[in-house]
Subunit: 413 residues, 2 copies
């Protein structure tokens, strides 16, 4: 253990125990380049690398709680203001911590206990998708408008070139999806989980497709319908406030962008049957989701305060959607680093609007949401989270492109 302790404080005796616990905590986390400052000004790090982040812990009880259950308590303490950033960047510091915690094998005691606790598959608490979706997506369109791009896309963008703005990258993502689906004019699309409707409207306006788009968020559906009217696309796009489990009819293409995280692994086989029965001969489907390299539940704080009922699947878990349904995977792409950049853009825009957010909600909400966005950026940067786009077709269909060259040629194919 490389132990570097500044001891500016006079009351050494009283903080001796606390200091040693902080050392243990940092060591168990793999000695990340992070410095923790105690309530008495004493500051501790166990890394010889320059600190990317210095955090101030307000009091003794916050430290106890952090040691007992860091996954949950870090987010709670930050939200309460009991942990504050003194110096450095929250997202970069978290990313380094996530990376250290997973690669360093030091201090098996505490770390292993936390790892076991993290790995313990919690029962998916979907006490009604409506309630879960309402909690996050119905916070108000005005709030989301403050920090999302003008297309109101709330999923991973695709930075096809380095110089793209977030909005350009969100449009590029829509085109990336449409090219993978080989969407053609006059074709019909079913979209499951359509957010504020950006992709459905893009498919109609740019590709001439007719779209039936489903979503159970009342706020989002209202916004999407207004957007369709404003764009004169109501004849092409129908926004339906209903659950994916109630999708009927058939289509040439099926798209689901950022819904699978909320479906719950126990419902994957059912979703697969719905996709399969929705596809006509020659049909294609694309599922875009936050995911993992290996099965692990969502961070508990995130699941409790931000995305109730959500769980990012591993690729093997995702196959429960496709394999029993007789759907053949044509193409899978990991866009992890695109999501890190997307979340970074959201965080920057959020900080620019923090005063407005504080007026809409309160300071506690500002801190909670900053923690969520910075944690998200960090998780994608560190490799804790992945983003998969998986393209499938009915297993017997030979109406599939021979190569993926069309995805990378200019313009819609």
């Amino acid at each position: 253990m490389h132990l570097l302790v500044d001891t500016p404080a006079p009351c050494w005796r009283h903080t001796g125990v606390a200091q040693r616990l902080v050392e243990k905590l940092l060591h168990a986390l793999g000695d990340p380049p992070v410095r923790l400052q105690l309530w008495n000004g004493q500051s501790v790090t166990t890394s010889r690398a320059p600190s990317l982040l210095t955090l101030r812990i307000a009091n003794r009880s916050t430290l106890w709680r952090l040691i007992a259950d860091p996954d949950m308590q870090f987010g709670e303490a930050y939200t309460d203001g009991r942990i504050e950033v003194v110096a450095g960047d929250l997202a970069q510091g978290l990313a380094a911590t996530f990376r250290h915690a997973a690669t360093n094998a030091a201090a098996p005691g505490l770390q292993a206990r936390w790892a076991r606790a993290r790995a313990l598959m919690r029962r998916n608490t979907l006490r009604g998708s409506r309630r879960n979706i309402h909690a996050h997506y119905d916070l108000g369109n005005e709030f989301y408008r403050l920090w999302l791009d003008p297309t109101m896309s709330y999923t991973c963008a695709y930075f096809e070139s380095e110089s793209m703005t977030l909005m350009e990258a969100q449009v590029a993502k829509m085109d990336h999806v449409c090219r993978k689906l080989r969407l053609r004019a006059g074709e019909e699309v079913i979209e499951a989980g359509c957010g504020w409707g950006g992709l459905a409207l893009h498919m109609a306006a740019k590709y001439g497709a007719r779209v039936r788009a489903f979503n159970i968020s009342a706020e989002q559906i209202a916004y999407a319908r207004a957007a369709a009217r404003a764009a004169g696309l109501t004849a092409m796009v129908e926004f339906i406030q209903d659950d994916y489990r109630n999708i009927s009819g058939s289509a040439d293409a099926f798209a689901s962008i950022g819904m699978l995280e909320h479906v719950g692994i126990g419902n994957y086989t059912r979703l697969g049957r719905i996709i399969r029965r929705s596809l006509r001969a020659g049909g294609r489907a694309l599922v875009h989701t936050v995911a993992r390299d290996a099965p692990e539940p969502l961070n508990r704080w995130m699941e409790r305060y931000i995305f109730p009922g959500a769980c990012p699947p591993s690729l093997a878990q995702m196959m429960k959607v496709f394999e029993p349904a007789g759907l053949s995977v044509l193409d899978a792409e990991n866009l992890r680093l695109h999501y890190a950049r997307t979340a970074g853009c959201w965080l920057a825009a959020f900080e620019n609007s923090r005063d407005q957010v504080a007026r809409m909600f309160d300071e506690r909400f500002v801190r909670m949401w900053r923690m969520y966005l910075a944690g998200t950026q960090a998780a994608f940067l560190s490799g804790d989270l992945q983003l998969f786009q998986v393209l499938v077709a009915p297993g017997r269909s030979n109406e599939v492109p021979l190569t993926r060259g069309h995805i990378y040629s200019a313009g819609p194919d």
Copy 2:
């Protein structure tokens, strides 16, 4: 059941039972566009579509055995000459039969019994990989030279454009793999299961990579070493006659083309650990394998006579290689129809050399091998088999390309 029976034979009474059994058999197979001709000339089909294939069954006992266990007995009877093609194309007829058997829900009795038998996961009979590999790959380089392309590539080609010859498509496959791996001059590669050495030599000659290539087939290694000497590449490429389980050292890239089929699912986690520990920081690995849309063992005749110990995994099963090892999937591509075309090229070249093959072996071998190649083409055409290329990197590595555009730009990147 659509029943269309020609009855040119006089002895109707004696064949009444046989005829009804043939009808049952065809119906259980989903009424494929196939006509079966009995030993007395009587011919039966249960499809209204024009027959793609007419097969003559030599005698009563062949029919009984076919009904009892079609997966195994069809190949055996064809090899023995007890089933012969009277008209039509074997591969196309088999592809139609595979497609019908899987999509038509008719006649649950026999079909369900066979499906259960097929689905019953047999214990992988790898009684020593050396023995299994020897049985197929050590049949003699002279034999394989008769019908493989000049690069001696015995895996799925990549027909980047429609007009490519098989050899051009095999070279395109090598470039496709090298571009996915972003192979650069001076980098080191480990190849697990290198066949006759074509990819290893290509990586050295075209990309300036240094390759250590492993294979347990004595005949293939001898051929590959001679090819390296002839190309003046012995300083760049080392061919090692050893099992993948004995790979040591590290590299920038790891490639395994057409080996996973022979590894056995029970060894996947071990293979994943070997790939992970072989990769340096910033390393990439590509695994290319025959696969399935859902778990199912290899056809029993194929496993017994052609590829002992082999099993094509589903994508979820493949993830047993990557998920426990901390490897992150960057890209997965399905090249199924490319394999159908590759096998078609092999079959055509094999037919052109059938007299030489008969002199090397015998007529029975010619029929067995034709059955294997036609059955392979049919399985990829019908969707019974898939071909996946999966690109991975260590889960924490951010040295990964943001997009796949480089794969589709001209020339090595």
